[in-house]
Symmetry: C2
Subunit: 271 residues, 2 copies
DNA sequence: CTAATAGTGTCTATTAGACAGTATGTT
DNA sequence: AACATACTGTCTAATAGACACTATTAG
């Protein structure tokens, strides 16, 4: 029919097909400190994520992940970067593709397929104030064998959802996730949130991604607490220190003035 | 502006945006046996993948992964399933989403974003003959610190490509992959192939996905060989047997007539 | 008997878990 | 002194790696 690739391309009509849109959604994760009543106790840490309140239809007034449509002339990875910059005015942070969700009914406007990303930041490094419609939510989860309850709290509102986990055949880790209960989160974003947490929980054990959520200098106790809130369990000090020993480097600085022995400050050591 | 979600949706025009197409590509992986010259020696195993030769532009006459456009009214996961059925006439097999590739120039026709999947099968279970333009390629790889050489061979043609690996900051496993050399594979499919192999190499250690590539009954030696071709290294027998002991169940059948001690046949044991 | 793979016993090295102890700051 | 956390020593349990050994078939 066509004699060359050039000739073929000249005759190709991209508008011939029904339109499908592509969006990117980003799960921005950080860790927050919460002051304690007793001056001597260390601050309690929480894992937290950034949500924005929708001011237009669909899902008006519900909370959702920052996201937006992919532009035709925009690289796929540029899309989450652009949104991240718009939302938090930061660049050059850790960003990893999570999963692509594309069920037919996920967006009532039209067929939308969404590629989700997870971004890890230390939110104390943010210079600018958040946009008015954005808010950090502390995230807590209660995981059982077949379902997970996730609770999000920004100090004013509390959002909850439940995810049902179904184990796939011949796997030991592959679950199918479905939203079981969800009051106030738009689209299928509870699935994205939980996929991201799962990913983070796994990767924290065999990569160095946590350090993306840490300040330049940190105490090992703080680092341990970050592991603990992500993994949702207590760790034993000696074991923890053994594991991270090769990843950190002691500095001559200390954190002091806390009513107990000062802690040495460490920094991330590249391999 | 709009008073309700319904009203908003009535006025929404999906054709307002520039069209972006979505495709699915599938890396179908199996393990093949190759007869040995000496009747006593066991057959040599290879990991193999299914490629199809393109008969239209673009990339006419090059090999690529089975794939196709997502239909507007088709669930995202149905797309690879449909293609799999068209290509091999099998259903209900292990399928897992790999990654979504979306660089602007990956398809010369128009902007195409592609979600890739990996499928694991035991190709001896295929009842039907392959389509004429399809072929199994044995796959071998040579991995070094910063690059990988992958060689594909279907007995007639040999295809090669090289992937450059660049380690990302603050990770111990996150590499950025780029195609360095590639004679004869269409699109960015070398990236998909390598991503799939990496995924398989990782997952084989902490999941039960290998059993998707095994027949109902198998000898432990055969299972070990499958691990070995995927991981690309020799394993020690006692260690291997310890690890898989909990995943398999001995049957009273044996494999015999091979010039050496018969091997017991096992089957996969669900947890 | 021989070649070839099947399958096991056991020693060692490495790593993870548990707990108890010592150290050192602030009020 | 009391409290709270920082940090370490060491025993034990579990796991992974290495090697040598025995077992069993077809020809």
């Amino acid at each position: 029919m066509y004699k060359s690739e050039e000739e073929f391309l000249k005759n190709y009509n991209p508008k011939a097909y029904d339109p499908i849109s592509l969006t990117c959604d980003i799960l921005i994760v950080s860790v927050s400190d919460e002051a304690q009543e007793n001056y001597r106790k260390s601050s309690k840490k929480h894992m937290s994520i950034l949500l924005v309140k929708r001011d237009t239809y669909p899902f008006k007034d519900k909370w959702c992940l920052p996201g937006g449509f992919l532009k035709v002339n925009e690289e796929l990875e540029e899309c989450p970067k652009r949104i991240l910059k718009e939302e938090t005015n930061i660049q050059n942070i850790y960003l990893e593709q999570l999963y692509t969700f594309g069920s037919i009914k996920r967006d009532p406007r039209m067929r939308v397929v969404s590629t989700s990303y997870i971004a890890l930041i230390d939110k104390n490094r943010l210079k600018d104030k958040l946009k008015e419609n954005a808010s950090w939510f502390n995230i807590t989860y209660f995981e059982e064998e077949k379902e997970v309850l996730v609770i999000l709290d920004n100090g004013v509102e509390q959002l909850k959802f439940k995810i049902k986990k179904t184990l796939k055949e011949m796997t030991t880790d592959r679950y199918k996730f479905d939203i079981k209960e969800n009051d106030s989160i738009a689209f299928d974003h509870p699935l994205v949130i939980w996929s991201g947490i799962e990913r983070l929980k796994n990767k924290i054990n065999y990569t160095d991604i946590v350090f993306n959520m840490m300040p330049e200098l940190f105490a090992l106790g703080d680092l341990q607490q970050v592991y603990e809130v992500i993994l949702n369990k207590k760790l034993l000090d000696p074991a923890f220190r053994r594991i991270i020993a090769g990843k950190v480097e002691k500095t001559d600085k200390v954190k002091t003035g806390l009513g107990h022995r000062p802690s040495a400050l460490f920094k991330y050591k590249k391999k």
